[in-house]
Symmetry: C2
């Protein structure tokens, strides 16, 4: 009888998928590669070397903001070196004969409406240490399924609990509800956003208060309910008032899930401080729009709101904007603990126009808010990791 | 100023990626599809319709055990209908001009050494209800990072905690250490294996004891340590004694991680019953080999062992097999709470030979063990979900 374990290991052993050539390849494998996989490789100047074996393909490209044509060698490997990339996390694609797919050498990340390859370009020096796993006390990210009374089906959220949550059995904690961007889902903040690493490090350094962070799925429809058309096409030519109504229609069911399912479940099952002063809502991009919509409509629930590369849209007439919440600035400022707006300094022009306009309008109306710009970064996860750091270090103070 | 949210939604809104044609397509989207994506579709007889748009490709195939050639239509969509598939979870690939990649319409699952498309074929009737999320009390799956003293770097495990763990503040629980198969990692049991759904349902029905389940990464190397060559090629022609030595060399560092890092961390941070009677180790395939290796070498730590489509290899001379642990059957039986071997009835022939041989040898030596066969299933996750159910319903009794 042959040793069974021979057969049991047929599926693979975690060994490298791409064998290095005798000549050492330049650069280092990206941290986002499958462990042991040699490509993509990062060069010291942040150029990226992509490679894939595709002897029968007619054309192979790699797409990371721009599309780079790869060149085929005699063994059928296609290789290309990109321009230098900005540090941080980027989605990218392998394009084989015109079809954009994942690079088999990369981990995948749910973004852009599907599972997508991702590339982490390290920041210089220790700039990125705050989102790396360090030898500090560690909290947990908990995956929690529940039966939604609103959608009448299973849903889940992720919950960050800080170090010591299980040991400090009488401690109670404030709660941040933190939403992902469009085309992403409830996995984005724990994975691309590195919530646990950032919070563990900030809490260990005494820079953030220990808090719970709930990361829900920002999409919800009731049985038989159609999704409200939304996005650049559907929203074109709407007035600010029509746009606000469309936003509420689009995200109203999600708001109900949060109010009727999630917040009661969290307050009943975890040691929260269940009052408005200790409850915040924030989000990235589309999630920022949700945070302003829900936070401003529910001032009895939330005393703090964060827009992370996302705003509350156009404030045309303060008397009608979300029930007139900004009409009396003194009253709003007195009852609000933190209003935060942060964005990258190099986001696309339409977004920059929106951030600058929202910031200017808040200032003009006398609405107190913290404002942060991440220099040199776009509408990407490095901006949001920094936004999360800047927001949470100011939160629940 | 244009409403900012227009721009913020550019990344996508979670709407369907593939628009249905006017003629309704037959079948239903697979549960493993990206939400809203129409293909792959399942027909009532478990044939699968795959489709992808690739107007420039020369050849498109879909690979699910066999490779099926797709046919291109005038709009550049390639479509193929497979033979009927066995119920359960299957890895599959889109093959574009010879390159096996992920289907953009599918969720991805870490298996076969990379992120891979997956397809869930439902079982008839309620046969699969035990691994669906039901309206029952829910436990959690916790992601926990830690700094390993053995590998001197960050590692993580997933931990299932049963419903009520946070509320029943004085309850203590037995612990199962549960390992993935080769080419998979610590995400496989929570995702492909549906550990939380299975345990929530079994516990709600009173069929399994509430327990903690730790799911670690089955690979570990120390700084500077080379991985021991392993697998069908490297292991060829080894004697049983040499094979056992190779197994210990290959997985010895992982065993140290478990013994020096993980078990102490779990017993210090969670409300375990920290004795051998309340600690078990089990695994799928390669993980089953690890479970027998570690469980049989550490009888002071583990009183129960489960081989889920995995065995302890060839028992040639009981006097030398893992320190002679099976040499005195009466002694082993008296000190062991549960030895379990389960496998599919339709696994590949070499594996079946191994399972039957291990089962026969245990029987011949008088080693008491529970034995389960999942009729009609192969070396796949449906077998392992059933194995987990059969193992955990017998465990800690």
């Amino acid at each position: 009888m042959r040793p069974l374990i021979l057969a049991l290991c047929l599926l693979g052993t975690g060994l490298p998928q791409t064998v290095l050539a005798a000549e050492p390849a330049p650069g280092v494998p990206a941290a986002t590669n499958i462990p042991g996989v040699a490509y993509p490789r990062l060069l010291p100047d942040n150029r990226v070397v992509f490679r894939v074996k595709a002897p029968e393909a007619q054309r192979v490209q790699f797409r990371i903001y721009q599309t780079f044509d790869a060149v085929k060698d005699a063994e059928g490997f296609w290789t290309v070196t990109t321009e230098p990339q900005v540090p941080g996390f980027h989605y990218y694609w392998l394009v084989i004969d015109g079809v954009a797919v994942n690079d088999p050498g990369s981990e995948t990340f749910y973004g852009t409406g599907k599972q997508t390859s991702g590339l982490e370009i390290p920041e210089p020096g220790d700039a990125g240490a705050y989102y790396q796993s360090q030898d500090v006390p560690h909290g947990e990210v908990r995956e929690r399924w529940y039966h939604s009374k609103v959608t009448q089906g299973p849903r889940r959220f992720f919950l960050y609990t800080p170090p010591g949550y299980d040991q400090n059995r009488d401690a109670r904690y404030p709660v941040l509800y933190l939403q992902h961007g469009g085309g992403e889902d409830e996995r984005a903040w724990p994975i691309q956003g590195r919530v646990a690493q950032i919070m563990d490090n900030l809490i260990a350094a005494g820079q953030a208060k220990p808090m719970l962070i709930v990361m829900e799925r920002g999409y919800a429809v009731k049985p038989g309910e159609a999704e409200v058309p939304f996005g650049p096409g559907a929203n074109a030519n709407l007035s600010p008032a029509e746009m606000q109504a469309r936003t509420i229609a689009r995200f109203g069911t999600f708001e109900q899930v949060l109010l009727q399912d999630v917040i009661p479940l969290v307050d009943a099952n975890y040691r929260t401080i269940a009052d408005r002063e200790h409850r915040a809502i924030a989000g990235f991009s589309m999630g920022g729009g949700q945070a302003f919509m829900i936070g401003l409509r529910q001032p009895g629930l939330f005393a703090s709101i964060g827009g992370l590369s996302g705003t509350g849209g156009t404030i045309a007439d303060p008397a009608t904007y979300y029930g007139g919440v900004f009409a009396d600035a003194a009253k709003f400022n007195a009852s609000t603990k933190l209003l935060f707006l942060g964005h990258g300094g190099a986001e696309p022009e339409r977004m920059m126009t929106g951030f600058h306009g929202f910031h200017a309008r808040l200032t003009e109306l006398g609405i107190k808010h913290a404002y942060y710009v991440s220099e040199g970064t776009g509408h990407v996860w490095l901006t949001e990791r920094r936004n999360l750091r800047e927001f949470t270090t100011r939160l629940f103070r």
